[in-house]
Amino acid sequence: MFHISTLQLALTLVASPQEFYERMSPPIERAATNGAQLVVLPNYTGLMLLGVVVRAEQKSLALGELARAGNFATVSELLCTAAPGMRDFYLQIFSTLAKRARVFLAPGTVVEMHAGRLYNTAYLFTPEGSVVGSQKQTHRTSREIAWGFSQGEELSVWDIGDARVGFVVGTDVAHPEVARILALQNANLLIHPAAYPTYHDEYFLLDLWRDVQGNQVFGVQSCAGGEFRGKSAIYAPVEMTRARTGILAQATSADGEEIIRATLDFDALQKNLDAYSVFDFFNYGFYARAFPSTYRGRV
């Protein structure tokens, strides 16, 4: 059994690393106290640290306004300038929090520079505070393209106890290639740090629920609240949930702060696959023939 918690948090700018620490520490520790072995936070958590770099009155993550307040010509310029500092604080603070809470921690994403390019990157820490790995977001929204983000070109999975995890970062969830590639690499738990602009009852058709069903794995989605919307959730294949919804646990509101938890039974997941594995019905020949030419010709 593997106990996980996902935190639905309102993202606001913080004025100091100390404030960031004080903001993140209580819910992570509460989740750990409740037995979580893995704690997941939303997309863009690291952006909260922009307030440390650019001293501004505003609390919201409106990056355009923040760039203007800091006299940066563009958001991209602001992010390039702030990225190294934000990343340092992010790594230091979340390493400390993982260690303090003794949990695997997936603390959302941070903007980082790598080889002169900006990426939105999710990190995963061990209960000892070291980095298990990081995953650059591989697809971007139009807003993220305007901010100057580049695309990651690798997808990795890591073993953490019974879980073999891979990240579906932000808008990667709109691209089913990502979850499939992770599942083909044997991921059994997809972690989705999210920050959706909107939410309604059928939104599960657009979010990680779809990937979980299509790949028959577990999924944990952490949604940003505040100016963002979304219901954080822990998903499983429909057949494995009592109400046959594919939802093991879900936030009650689309904008409030909540801690959602569930226990994942990987043996039960294996039994579910032994009974029926959708991957048994792949049409390998079709994919091999169609994908290279179709992607080359049409994208």
């Binding site: 697809h139 695309q151 990651g152 590639i181 059994n188 058709l205 019905f281 079709f286």
Partner: protein
Amino acid sequence: MSLKEFVLTTTVQASLAYKARGSAIRGALAQRAYPRASQPTRDRVGAAAVQMQSELVDDGAQFALKCYALARQAVEGGAALIVFPEYAWLPLLGLLPSARALIEEGFTLERALQEPATSESSAPRILQTLAPAIKSILETTGRELASRFGAYIMIGTGIALNSAGQMFNTAYLFGADGALIGTQPKLHPTAREISWMTPGEDLNIFTLPFAKLAMPVCMDYSFWETTRIAALRGVDILLGFSAEENANEFHLAMRGIASRVQESYAYGIQACGIANFAGLNFCGPSYIVASIGMRRDTTTFLARTRTHNVEEVITAELDLARLRDFRASQARDANLELYRKYLPQAYESYRARVTQDGKRRVV
């Protein structure tokens, strides 16, 4: 083949050919009235999903008249694009001698299809025998109804045979002039089909005057690969059709075309078959869906049948101009480097691992 089997097969084939004869179908349909379908434009088309109840029929004409009644409802509801369900051919089991008696005695199709095709009387061999009659009846019915109503009709799936005797679960699309536009064999067989059905090799895209269409079959929608390839090939409308026992479980059903239209930025039409015989319990509901965000309201459903187990026809207008605007506003960020690196190689690595382990292992 023994002499007895030869005589039996020849007799059955002759009987089936007689019951499937095109002249009888055309004659029966010629006596009906045909309102003309409203003509689709580049900006809009009326679409219908036919939730069809399977009941055994005695011959092709009876089948065609049933399809006529449903197609007429669709046309009168404003549809020019009409979608029938997967396994639309099931009523044609009634053409087989003693079929009704066998079914009354508890014959189940699923069990029968798992039998090895060792004798002429095994179920897979009987389907091979029935296949030409199914093809002929579906083609004649589809052609006649499409041309007489002036509508585009996907008449459902039948069993197609190739020269090697392999069977395919194949959909047939007819143009408003009655011409067969094309066919689509199912690409991903289900567990109950895998013993007798050969999967198709490619996904066809049909360029009509008003839109591009694809018609993956049922289980094909469980695989985003199918509709991603359709979307990249420019498809506007996904014709879907199913014959499933769990289609009335909302979240199970949502794993199919309703999920796929979200990734594809396309309309989807899902027509479900209803069957309650020969061990089958297929049901609906059927629906017509659009990508969430394409319209002002926040639902994916444009239309849904009221019931899951009663024959119904639903229609909706597909606003193709709005679809184009929506796509333009939702520019996709493809990642060719990533796809090149992993697709299709990741499937091959997975296949090698599963071959070695004997099954997919996640623990």
